[in-house]
């Protein structure tokens, strides 16, 4: 179902790409005119992603509201732990937090994030479509989650490997094929995605992956596939590791966020190519911490109304190759702000790229994370 949705989104993206010219004006937020705080702490991921947020909507917002000042905290990777600690200490210092969908679900479950009515916090599309319909159900995975972008875990490979005899990998299963594609790999040091990819290459159908992974035999099957490349693999923990390892020639094949590979390939012109096959989709968006005082909350809501509207999400795509979460933003996606390259072909949601994409099951992982992680770490340590 999610794949279908992504396809509709991407069709729109291609159909109208480049047609957008005029910047659409933002509408007034529902909290306009109320008492608002002048300071706001935004938590994000740092790096190129935070830069895209700064350029696309934080700087424009500050221009419109010169009295407001924004403090950045680059702690999104520890968002759940941080918010839990702050709430327990009764000392909330974050006002708006950028998190992955899985973390948003956890925060919502624990009551650490505020439940929101998406139609009250996000503007309708310019054509009047409500925010709920514009984001669609597939993006609204949690009651606390205000989606921004769709990103994916993809593989990059070096295009100058002599041993490959001119062949280039085109399928996810090439990752596990050391004979055809010898060389070191880089995979993330956690079971997510790796276990699913392994099972898919062991003949399991996409819709059966999680049912299989629930069983002991299924887990062993996945690990057996990973065993094939285990001693040829570098296990990464930070998204920047893989592009670096690829650029150094330490590995010839590696997974990471598609935006990181985009900057290595397009911005830094490294001898790396992208392999979109069976990319694994994930979402990123905002949550509002539970327990903000009224003026701060009003400021956050005012900012969110602006920052998540159709034009602003489309603007963000000019700085980073992540797909905007709104359907209505897709036709407005244009070219890269500095390089001028057309962004659409680099989006994970582009129909050509989205073919055969895999969608993670967050709820399943919420249940099985501990068990699989223990198993995976024990397997790694063997």
């Amino acid at each position: 179902m999610t794949t279908k949705k992504i396809l509709t989104l991407s069709t729109a993206l291609v159909g109208f790409a480049g047609m957008a010219t005029a910047q659409m004006e933002a509408t007034e937020s529902p909290v306009a005119g109320m008492e608002m705080a002048d300071e706001m702490t935004i938590v994000s991921w740092g790096g190129a992603y935070q830069e895209s947020q700064l350029k696309a909507y934080v700087e424009p917002y500050l221009e419109m509201n010169p009295d407001v000042s924004v403090t950045w905290d680059e702690s999104s990777a520890e968002a759940v732990a941080g918010l839990r600690a702050q709430t327990e200490a009764n000392n909330l210092t974050w006002d708006l937090v950028d998190v992955t969908a899985a973390d948003a679900m956890r925060l919502c479950d624990e009551g650490l994030a505020m439940e929101v009515d998406i139609d009250e916090v996000a503007a309708p599309a310019p054509d009047g479509t409500s925010a709920t319909d514009d984001f669609t159900e597939d993006m609204l995975v949690s009651d606390c989650f205000i989606p921004q972008i769709a990103y994916s875990y993809t593989f990059g490979y070096r295009n100058d490997v002599a041993e490959w005899n001119g062949n280039t990998p085109s399928s996810i299963c090439d990752v596990f094929d050391l004979e055809a594609f010898p060389g070191q790999r880089a995979l993330e040091r956690r079971p997510h995605n790796n276990m699913e990819w392994a099972l898919l290459c062991d003949g399991v159908a996409m819709e059966d992956v999680y049912d299989t992974l629930e069983t002991e035999e299924g887990q062993d099957r996945a690990l057996a596939v990973l065993d094939r490349i285990k001693d040829q693999t570098v296990w990464w923990t930070a998204g920047a590791d893989t592009p670096q390892l690829l650029a150094d020639g330490e590995v010839v094949f590696g997974s990471t966020y598609n935006g990181r590979l985009f900057s290595a390939i397009v911005e830094q012109d490294q001898p790396i190519e992208m392999m979109w096959d069976t990319q694994s989709f994930d979402l990123d968006g905002w949550i509002i911490p539970a327990g903000l005082d009224e003026p701060t909350l009003n400021r956050v809501l005012d900012f969110l109304w602006f920052a998540t509207d159709t034009q602003r999400l489309a603007d963000q795509a000019a700085y980073i190759s992540y797909g905007p979460a709104r359907q209505s933003s897709a036709p407005l996606v244009g070219t890269h702000a500095e390089l001028g390259v057309e962004m659409a072909p680099h989006m994970p949601t582009n129909p050509e790229n989205a073919q055969g994409a895999f969608v993670q099951n967050y709820e399943w992982w919420a249940d099985y994370r501990d068990e699989l992680d223990a198993k995976f770490q024990a397997w790694l340590a063997q």
């Binding site: 109320m34 990777a77 520890e78 759940v80 732990a81 839990r84 956890r106 479950d109 624990e110 009551g111 070191q184 040091r189 570098v234 296990w235 923990t237 150094d248 020639g249 330490e250 009224e294 709820e363 399943w364 919420a366 249940d367 099985y368 994370r369 501990d370 068990e371 992680d373 223990a374 198993k375 770490q377 024990a378 397997w379 790694l380 340590a381």
Partner: protein, 580 residues
């Protein structure tokens, strides 16, 4: 420099051997002479006077250290103690499921049977309240550490549990639409005083608008409500929860289906309870008693099994029961690769055991790092202590320079040096020592961690060694040689024994720093060169299993204390010197 040595060989004077007055001795002297009743100049007994002045002195000393003491207590010791305390804390189960925990007392896991209807009734009530308070998912994550699948079971049940009482709600409202009115319930179950206070509060809330944040008045049960125990209990939970969660008063909110369900249950059990109420309430209740046969029965057990068949698994109930006490050894057991099941303590499945290996590896690698620090640091420290001042200073700067460089920079530099396409491998290939296809693997494994951490911790070994060696008079070695000792014997029997305190100090420093290290192994350790602290960090910031992180941390702390104690017993902590 040499005068400190002169007392060597003589028995050191303890406080009792000193002939001059010390504060302690003076007090003792005064005590001894108390019978002779010595008095101070102002006529008070000398002992009391002395004690007073000593107390004043101690108090003054305490006040001087107080800022630091309070600072350390508040910002360091208290948070750590609080964090470590989480390793046994487990109130969440009994707080979220109080009725179920009580009902489960009468159920025996050994019987292998699913608990009776009383437990399911209690669970329904607990879950309905927990869902309204959004506590059930948190409980699910807690219990999921012990039995995989409970998290989704509780989440799924949380979504559907509301529907269980729905049929009775509909039947009651069909019978008399007044049951839908919040005022009917409030009028029947609460005191007039409360209703008045709540009505006034509602008016103030209307006037206050968005900025109004006065909590609604606390609900008080009417006397007559005692006749309906389950209803009273459910209604109390309802009023309290909406008061704290959504800042509403019971006067304005329709009660949860749980309250309807409870009323039907109460009236089935005590049909006479309707007589305890007067007027409309009594009449409405009497009508309801009359109509009871038409109201569908609710089988909570069947309803739960319909939501999820997992509820028929005694293992689920056994886990809830096993983890119902407010304190649990569960986290410590997990930290030792054991698990607490309803059947007792069991070993983890073989493919999920990680912690024992990790602890042993942490200790082994820390020892290896300490040892290589001694090996590399000793000659450097000797040079530092024996070279002429000019050269020694240059050498000292070389030792300290990396010390002043960021830890991350140094670690990343090692990455560049050690990786397979790195500087060292490139040089080795260029020299023809290794083939291009067989480049050495020196990073992302144990070797990488030991190399990088030895480099990073080396100054902590060199500096104490240097300061001890500096105090060893060169004349001793010269004397030994003039008496016929070879270089080696002079070193082994004269120089080395005197430098042992420096090795001791350096080793303790390096070992204790190494055992808790985290950043360097994370970056260069790969999968086999990581420490237990990396798992602690993982549980703190990623898996959020703080209890397990606390248990692992406590074990690490105790292990370090035991090693320190053993060191003191074997070598003696007095032999540790950080300087002359």
């Amino acid at each position: 420099m040499t005068d400190t040595r002169q007392t060597e060989g003589t028995v050191p004077l303890g406080p009792d051997q000193f002939t001059g007055p010390t504060p302690d001795n003076a007090l003792r002297d005064a005590d001894r002479d108390a019978k002779a009743s010595m008095v101070a100049a102002d006529g008070t007994p000398l002992k009391a006077s002395l004690a007073r002045s000593l107390r004043r002195q101690k108090l003054r000393a305490l006040m001087l250290v107080a800022p630091l003491l309070i600072f350390v207590l508040v910002t360091f010791i208290a948070p750590i103690a609080d964090m470590l305390f989480r390793s046994v804390q487990n109130e969440i189960v009994v707080d979220t499921l109080p009725r179920t925990v009580a009902a489960l007392q009468d159920w025996d896991y050994e019987s292998g049977e699913v608990p009776g209807p009383a437990v399911f009734d209690a669970m329904t009530r607990d879950m309905m309240v927990a869902v309204e308070r959004k506590e059930h998912t948190r409980l699910g994550s807690r219990l999921n550490y012990e039995l995989t699948g409970i998290s989704s079971l509780l989440r799924q049940t949380g979504r559907d549990v509301e529907d269980i009482g729905e049929v009775q709600l509909d039947a009651m409202v069909g019978l008399d639409p007044a049951w839908e009115e919040p005022a009917t319930w409030a009028g029947m179950l609460t005191t007039p005083d409360y209703r008045e206070a709540a009505a006034e509060w509602a008016i103030r809330a209307d006037e206050g608008g968005r900025l109004f944040d006065e909590p609604p008045p606390r609900m008080e049960l009417a006397e007559a409500a005692q006749a309906l125990p389950l209803t009273a209990d459910a209604y109390t939970d309802f009023a309290r929860t909406i008061g704290t969660e959504s800042q509403d008063s019971a006067l304005e909110e329709e009660p949860w289906p749980l309250v309807y369900m409870s009323l039907v249950q109460d009236l089935r059990q005590f049909p006479a309870a309707a007589d305890a109420f007067e007027g409309d309430d009594g009449a409405r209740l009497a009508a309801l008693v009359e109509a009871l046969p038409t109201i569908p029965e609710v089988d909570t057990r069947a309803a739960f099994l319909e939501i999820d068949e997992e509820w028929a698994d005694p293992q689920v109930w056994g886990t809830i029961k096993a983890f119902s006490p407010p304190y649990t050894p569960g986290y410590f057991l997990s930290a030792a690769d054991l698990t607490l099941t309803p059947d007792g303590v069991e070993a983890m499945p073989e493919d999920e055991r990680i912690y024992r290996t990790l602890f042993l590896r942490t200790i082994f690698m820390s020892l290896a790092i300490t040892f290589s620090c001694i090996l590399l640091g000793y000659p450097v420290a000797w040079l530092l202590a024996n070279l002429p001042a000019r050269q020694a200073n240059v050498l000292m700067i070389l030792v300290l320079l990396p010390f002043w460089t960021s830890l991350l920079v140094r670690t990343s530099a090692w990455k560049v040096l050690l990786q397979q396409q790195g500087v060292i491998n490139d040089i080795l290939v260029w020299l023809g020592l290794v083939g291009d296809a067989n480049r050495l693997v020196m990073i992302n494994n144990v070797t990488g961690t030991i190399i990088a951490m030895t480099h990073i911790l080396l100054p902590f070994m060199i500096l104490p060694l240097y300061s001890v060696m500096k105090t060893i008079p060169p004349s001793y070695v010269r004397a030994a040689k003039s008496l016929g000792a070879t270089d080696f014997t002079a070193f082994r029997r004269v120089y080395f024994p005197q430098s042992v305190p420096g090795i001791g100090a350096g080793s303790i420093l390096v070992f204790i720093l190494a055992i808790g290290y985290y950043i360097t192994p994370e970056i260069v350790g790969g999968t086999k060169g990581v420490f237990i602290s990396n798992r602690i960090a993982y549980h703190i910031s990623t898996s959020l299993n703080w209890g397990l992180a606390a248990a692992l941390g406590s074990i690490l702390l105790v292990a370090v204390l035991i090693l320190y104690w053993a060191y003191d017993r074997i070598i003696g902590i007095d032999n540790v010197k950080l300087g002359g």
